[in-house]
Amino acid sequence: MRYLPLTAENRAEMLEQIGAATVDDLFVDVPVEARLAGPIAGLPNHASEMAVERHMAALAGKNVSAGSVPFFLGAGAYRHHVPASVDHLIQRGEFLTAYTPYQPEIAQGTLQVLFEFQTQVARLLGTEIANASMYDGSTAAWEAVAMAGRVTKRSKAVLCSGLHPHYVSTIRTMAKFTGDTIEWAAPRLEAEPDTAGVIAAIDAETACVVVQYPDILGRVTDLAAIAEAAHAQGALLVAVVTEPVALGLIEAPGNLGADIVVGEGQSLGVGLQFGGPYLGLFGCREKFVRQMPGRLCGETVDAEGRRGFVLTLSTREQHIRREKATSNICTNAGLCALAFSIHMTLLGGEGLGQLARVSHARAQQAATRLAKAPGVSVLNSAYVNEFTVVLPSDARDAVRRMADRQVLGGVSLGRLYPDAPELANGLLVCTSELTTDADIEALGSALEGVLA
């Protein structure tokens, strides 16, 4: 048992020191009837490193990894190139195997990273401040709606139809706790988001309007118009960014009037990982800081006057406030925040702009190619690196049949909206700097093949 350093001699010696005859004497408080006599029946016993690696590699080998085929999936999880140094650095044991930095004198590495991360995220989102991360984009959106309720003392949230349906479902789960009213309807297959409809839904009871930017169909919403309408009613604008790379090209939501901006940070540094762990980004106006959820890192000085960093404003948090806390969250996504921050440090604003431009150019190229396929049309009037095409038949079927041809051709709207048959022919197509000319041609041919 390679992870256990105690030897039989150690155990005997330690039991003697304790004054116990056997280790079971230490479990004396467990009622006899609840104690298992031996290892749980029917389960395998310990295995060698090579045996476990063989088992896991065999399971991994059954999957079609994104990098092994032409790949066009997005819808809230994005595949970008992660520089080799990112994964190397996050595997340094001093980062990987540290705990939450509750002892700041010996955690300045993690804390300074968090301070840098908060600055990077705030500038990216266009907000005054940002926190040290949350679980993922969907739970960050949940927390933003809850926070808007605390700020405005209102309990209705208007969700734009273009908000990722998993985020909608997650926010609805939150509303089951809080009793908030959530207004939402599935999107329509139109070239532009329904900005007028969102604005019309805002009233004096509305705590916040939640707008995804770009939205689930890849469309870009006029945030400034919605911000103005929301503020006129005393409501907050919560912007949700599932693809932060897009902000290399389009204006940051905070600069367009959003009061809270949340996002999924996975597309920088973290990778796809079949859906998690991901990285929740959370920024807002400074005046709301004491209503903010999650951990915050702040600058201070030590007893000798040297600059240092600590977790701060923990009087908002559960371990101090217990039932009066702003959120029950007691962890963030520290290592994913580190990966994001390192990738952002390599890119800088300049590199993020280039990354967004290349990803966008590939999307235009893919849209041009797909529009040539018989019966296929591109929906969006504007998009960054993800757009919607409308097929002549159910896109779920097309996705499965393209996968049979070793092309991962996109995300069908039918999978995301099983209750909305009018969306069934929609297919979300996403590109990045990893997309090649050959990938785009393979997609075009595969789609034509399965539709033929």
Partner: protein, 520 residues
């Protein structure tokens, strides 16, 4: 062990007045200061090269384009590697030594787990890939779910919660959904005062009124007080077992039976599962829901504060109310993911989603590799060694530090001490900061709240006896210094990258982002 680490490197070694010497750089040999990235470079550069396509017109985005470029510096690879490597050296970590934080289970993180999680067949999978392209990934989720159910003796498991506290929310929502399904509007959640802070925060967020149940003199839930409070308004109880005093709740089964008889449900905080994994199954104790911190018992790395992973095992009574998605094994042996498309027909009482996608897959692969490595026999040994190590620490400090429940019998996987007997003006905090100078991470301090100046030590099973002996020797020395009132201890740490930090200033006027390039 009179002089632990006597041969170890110390920054002020050399001459008596080394501490007063100033270097021009501000660095001291391997003690390296590091500026912020914003102080290292200005915006406008990048450390990444791209392959631009032949043509890249910015069509259709006209009015949406950014006005100004994003003002963040981009560093070259060598600068980046050096920045983060230098910062990493200012962190303590399990890889450097014991990290005995009570209730955090800071055990060794096996590197095989890191290796398998990075296989492209796991790491490079999109969560919305068609199911036919990801059978091995669904198999991982299902195999881990199977192990968690077997190890806990429960009926089902919700895999998607992102961390322990998120799992608590999931479990409490299952309770709420089960009550609603039978038209029952119970409003009170009972929480023992020794509970983790997340428990009352979770129950309050779920709209329950919190009522505390006191602890008895031996550090356990006061059974009589709990039984007296049960009634038709009590939705359930949230209990931590083993509890935060490091003790097993002997009356757990009696508590569960009484709560069930009164129409409520039992939530167990599984943060301390490491003490009993393979030895006791919570399902046998009448638990209805319990989250499992994969980053504690099942060794996935803490990463400086996450990501965690908090699957929730559920009893037969609560399983129908669990969230989407989940996996099912079909008759042909294949594994299918049940999400929105099938959920309405197959899981009609489920409450929806805890989060986007399927949970912390990267943690599932690591936890499964860990579980397979230990197997049923090894996990049992994990619990036994974790409990043995904690009792060894507890008894080795007899007469040195006050153990308030030392007379209650053996502890489980963590040893609890108080500040009783320290000299006037000396506190738990001084011992904690003294441990930093001794080269150890401090234990959990001032928790649980039921003990004055609590020090909660959880060594875990991955500490060797020799390592424990060094830790005990240091703690013994610090206890003696604190009893004698050694003034040098009051200003510890002396040898860390920073002295004590001014947390009051940080909170009074929060500086949360760098503004060095903006006009004051």
């Amino acid at each position: 062990m009179n002089a632990p680490n006597a041969s170890g490197w110390r920054p002020e070694m050399g001459s008596a007045d080394a501490a007063d010497q100033v270097t021009a750089s501000g660095d001291r040999a391997l003690m390296l200061e590091e500026p912020l990235i914003f102080e290292l470079a200005a915006p406008g550069t990048t450390g990444v090269d791209f392959d631009p396509p032949a043509a890249s017109p910015l069509t259709s985005l006209g009015k949406f384009l950014r006005k100004d470029p994003l003002a963040l510096p981009g560093l070259s690879e060598p600068e980046t590697v050096r920045h983060y490597t230098r910062l990493s050296r200012q962190n303590y970590a399990i890889d450097l030594g014991p990290f005995p934080l009570g209730s955090c289970t800071m055990k060794h993180n096996p590197r095989l787990n890191e290796k398998v999680a990075r296989l492209p067949g796991f790491a490079d999978l999109h969560p919305l890939s068609p199911q036919q392209a990801v059978p091995g990934a669904l198999e991982v989720i299902n195999q881990l779910a199977f192990w968690l159910i077997e190890l806990t003796g429960m009926h089902g498991v919700a895999m998607s919660p992102k961390a322990g506290a998120h799992g608590e929310l999931c479990g409490v929502l299952c309770i709420k959904a089960a009550l609603q399904a039978r038209g029952d509007d119970r409003k009170v959640m009972l929480v023992p005062e020794s509970a983790h802070g997340t428990n009352p925060a979770t129950a309050a967020f779920a709209g329950f009124a919190i009522e505390n149940i006191p602890a008895n003199a031996e550090g356990r839930v006061d059974l009589a007080a709990l039984l007296a409070r049960l009634g038709p308004d009590v939705a359930g109880v949230m209990i931590t077992n083993p509890n935060t005093c490091g003790l097993f709740e002997r009356d757990m089964k009696a508590i569960s039976d009484a709560v069930h008889a009164a129409g409520g449900y039992v939530y167990c905080d599984g943060a301390n599962f490491n003490a009993i994994v393979g030895k006791v199954r919570p399902g046998d104790l009448g638990i209805d829901a319990m989250h499992i911190n994969l980053h504690k018992t099942f060794s996935t790395p803490h990463g400086g504060g996450g990501p965690g992973s908090g699957p929730v095992v559920l009893s037969k009574a609560l399983s129908p109310f669990g969230p989407l998605p989940y996996t099912v094994r079909e008759a042909d042996g294949s594994v299918r993911l049940v999400e929105e498309e099938d959920g309405a027909s197959e899981h009609p009482q489920g409450f929806g989603r805890m989060a986007a996608f399927h949970g912390q897959m990267g943690m599932f692969t690591r936890a499964l590799a860990y579980i397979l490595s230990h197997g049923a026999d090894g996990l049992r040994q994990v619990a036994e060694d974790a409990v043995l190590n904690a009792n060894y620490v507890l008894r080795s400090l007899d007469g040195e530090l006050d153990a308030p429940f030392g007379a209650s019998g053996p502890c489980m996987h963590e040893a609890l001490f108080s500040d009783a007997g320290l000299a006037d003006g000396f506190s738990t905090l001084d011992i904690a900061k003294g441990l930093i100078d001794e080269g150890f991470h401090p234990m959990t301090v001032y928790f649980p709240l039921v003990v004055h100046g609590a020090m909660l030590v959880e060594p875990t099973e991955t500490e060797s006896k020799a390592g424990l002996d060094r830790f005990i020797a240091s703690l013994r020395s610090l206890a003696q210094r604190a009893k004698q009132g050694d003034p040098a201890l009051k200003s510890a740490p002396h040898f860390a990258p920073r002295r004590r930090l001014d947390e009051t200033q940080a909170a009074r006027k929060p500086v949360l982002v760098w503004k060095g390039d903006q006009p004051a």
